[in-house]
Subunit: 484 residues, 2 copies
């Protein structure tokens, strides 16, 4: 019952039947024009109403002088006009009985002057009296892949997924969204709520906790309004879904900047860390770790444990990577156990003795530097997976060596092998691509793996950290199940 | 005198007049063929002799049945034949009075079996008796940009520079070399010395210490043979040139793997850390930090201090990045001081009040989302540079927003502004590109900046860490100058 109520309450935000853009125009340098154009680009199937008093038509759509004059029901109003015009727009929204407004405009409680604070107070009062909810101000607003509601004016992507992101920063909402293109991250929803004067992180956390399309929740927070309520909701949600939180403003300077950014009372890093841990959230220390961890959950979900089986040296250059991979995994709290006697024997029968490292990590460099090695790689993957002591298979892949050593028509063949292995395999496969791509072709090789939902990491440390965050989450869940 | 001797001693390694490749063939899957082909690709100007008893010609060059039968002098011999044939080849090298051999072949002291260890002992003896030096075995060998000696079979690059890399791992030598393509890293020399049975890290460190073309020395080490000598040389060298060292095999498992890789007695991480610090080397914890730090030295050399002036929000999305940039810099030991009153006034006059963050970092998001902002960016860069409290200017640039918001023909204009600023500016400019490129066009934007010798970092943390390594180096040098 509670769940149904929460889902219904948030429907106009993420699944609106109609959207109005106040401040829409043809001037593509302006936010209003950008929102409108992107909603069209995304093929949003609902009704769309540009609002602009001096235009009768914008981008092929009939324009209205104000929200009140729109003839049909309006679920969701995106507002991009200057602060001085906001209150009048909200009056119209009340008349029209809209369900939710999201205010892109900045210049409120995040600023230094009193006027902005007072204006934000008035927004809250108008929302309360008018019976609608407010997202923002100073935000990008809501994005939902299933309803084709785009994220601001980021170029839309088609493919949705199970990750939902609560972001106090509009910019970081967009940065993470971009990873749907480069790293195969698949989103259900993104919400950038800015100053959070009405709907706040806690509200969205509650919603994502019950939203059936959301399996993995990530959040970028600078501060929260009601710490006790937030803590309670975190605790409920994190027992059901992985909840990954990055707290911005950890240092003294950073927290002062956070105050200028979203007006958040940032709170001290150490207090946050303790609260997050107690509530069962996964605290991460950077945007990259946030993204990496979400990707690890998406592509691995629940590995059997934290014992890594590591393979390097495909197309050469494996030895140093073996040392570094072992160091990185151990430092992140993962295990790199010795291989079973049987596994070692099978590898010895397959690989040349000189130069091969047949402990764990395994270095297959001496197998050679051509497409001939592909079959060897396939067999090594299977042998490592069959080892009773491994839970996750990590392959270190230097894409520039693949391109250097394989003819153009065969260059995607290693990918095909890996995708086949990942699909049919019983243990998750993670790829580390430690040399940054310098050509479009190298990028394309990485992206094909990402799009096939094999997590690809740019450094050993980042891969190890992300996998460790996943395995520790499941250890905690198991511990709670045992003790409960 | 000592310097001249050392330079002359290493001339045949890095500036050979002639090279023989033993095990050269037409089979491009084999190392010998790859070495030979790449030496040709690089337009190595010296004489090149393929050695193969069953061919009279390879890749258009006359081939010889053995080294002894080559009619002219041979400085440098690259050996790729199996271990069982090595000793005979060395006998020929002694007859021919070659100066140095580099043995690519693996299967010696890094393996488990006694035979490999014994064979390596015999190599050392033959070198001593025959009057030549040995690099390897189990290595890629020497690369020198000025003499057009390529790095193994990595695709050659034209442009050389001032970074030299000592790598116990052949693979990491290649990984760093690849960054000449993607990150504008400019090398003088790279040496992969593998098991280091004769010439070891210390020898190359000594050489790079006096080599006039080397300004910045980086090293990847798994262990050293003679710790005391290494420490002494480190100390000498690090007082003259930045010496960046990454020690692989820091964890228990990692150090066991290092033993299997190059037979190195790895030593404990904590002892290493203390020794490196005492010797004035800059210890780094990963391949990425090693590369990032070398790049920071290359592109900034000596900033006035560690006070950052940070700019975000060009083309939008600056607020969260301001918070995170401040956190990352402070956490890395850099300063992010408040701006001078005068600077703040100048920024206030330039930027819209609503949504702009005008402390430090500065968020220029509200200036707009089009090419119009370019002039504003130029002025903000100058204002931040003129602030008496900044030493390094950091710009956070989301290249995908540049491409989204600027028409195709103008997309390189922001780069032109930045390159102009970096060339004429009095304070170094560092760029952070925090959203990984997902298209060739985005890569091209990043690379243009890198090639213009503006250091571009993929994350805030990595940029901050690299800059901090540079500023702490110069603080130490200043401290020594004061106390000396």
């Amino acid at each position: 019952m509670l769940t149904q109520g929460k889902l219904r309450e948030f429907e106009p935000i993420f699944y609106p039947r109609s959207v109005a853009v106040v401040g829409a125009s043809k001037d593509v340098r302006k936010a209003g024009a950008k929102y409108l154009r992107t909603i069209q680009l995304a093929h949003f199937p609902g009704r769309v109403y540009p609002v602009n008093p001096s235009r009768s038509e914008i981008l092929g759509l009939k324009a209205y002088p104000n929200v009140a004059s729109i003839p049909d029901e309006v679920d969701n109003v995106i507002i991009t006009v200057p602060p001085s015009l906001i209150l009048d727009v909200l009056d119209d929204c009340a008349v029209k009985k809209v369900k939710v407004v999201q205010i892109f405009t900045a210049g409120f409680s995040e600023g230094q002057d009193e006027e902005g604070h007072r204006l934000e107070e008035k927004i809250i009062k108008k929302a309360h009296d008018g019976g609608f909810r407010v997202i923002g101000p100073n935000c990008i607003g809501a994005c939902c892949l299933a309803s084709k509601l785009p994220y601001g004016w980021a170029t839309p992507v088609e493919e949705g997924g199970s990750i939902s992101f609560i972001s106090q920063s509009g910019g970081y909402g967009g940065s993470l969204f971009e990873l749907s293109r480069s790293r195969g991250m698949r989103f259900s929803k993104i919400i950038s709520y800015g100053n959070g004067c009405d709907l706040d992180s806690t509200d969205f956390l509650e919603y994502f906790g019950v939203d059936p399309e959301t399996r993995i929740i990530v959040a970028y927070l600078e501060g929260v309004q009601d710490g006790q309520r937030f803590f309670r909701v975190m605790r409920q949600v994190s027992s059901k879904k992985p909840l990954i939180i990055w707290k911005g403003g950890q240092t003294g300077v950073g927290s002062q900047v956070a105050d200028s950014h979203t007006g958040a009372l940032a709170g001290r890093g150490v207090v946050w860390a303790a609260a997050l841990k107690q509530a069962g959230a996964i605290e991460v220390g950077s945007f990259e770790e946030l993204a990496d961890t979400a990707l690890a959950f998406q592509d691995m979900w629940r590995p059997g444990g934290s014992r890594m089986g590591i393979i390097t040296g495909f197309m050469g250059a494996g030895g140093g990577l073996c040392v570094a991979a072992a160091d990185a995994c151990i430092a992140a709290g993962l295990e790199v156990p010795p291989l079973a006697e049987e596994t070692r024997k099978r590898l010895e029968a397959l690989l040349p003795a000189g130069g091969s490292i047949l402990r764990n990590p395994v270095d297959i460099t001496p197998a050679g530097f051509s497409l001939d090695v592909l079959e060897t790689l396939g067999r090594v993957l299977s042998i490592m997976e069959a080892d009773p002591g491994t839970d996750v298979i990590m392959l270190i892949l230097r894409v520039e060596l693949v391109i250097l050593n394989i003819s153009e028509e065969d260059v995607f063949q290693p990918n095909r092998l890996l995708i086949e292995f990942a699909r049919s395999g019983r243990k998750p496969l993670v790829v580390v691509s430690p040399v940054p791509p310098s050509t479009g072709e190298q990028l394309a090789l990485e992206r094909q793996l990402s799009e096939a939902q094999i997590a690809v990491y740019p450094t050993l440390q980042r891969a190890a950290r992300a996998i460790s965050n996943v395995t520790r989450y499941w250890e905690r869940i198991e511990g709670e199940a045992d003790s409960g």
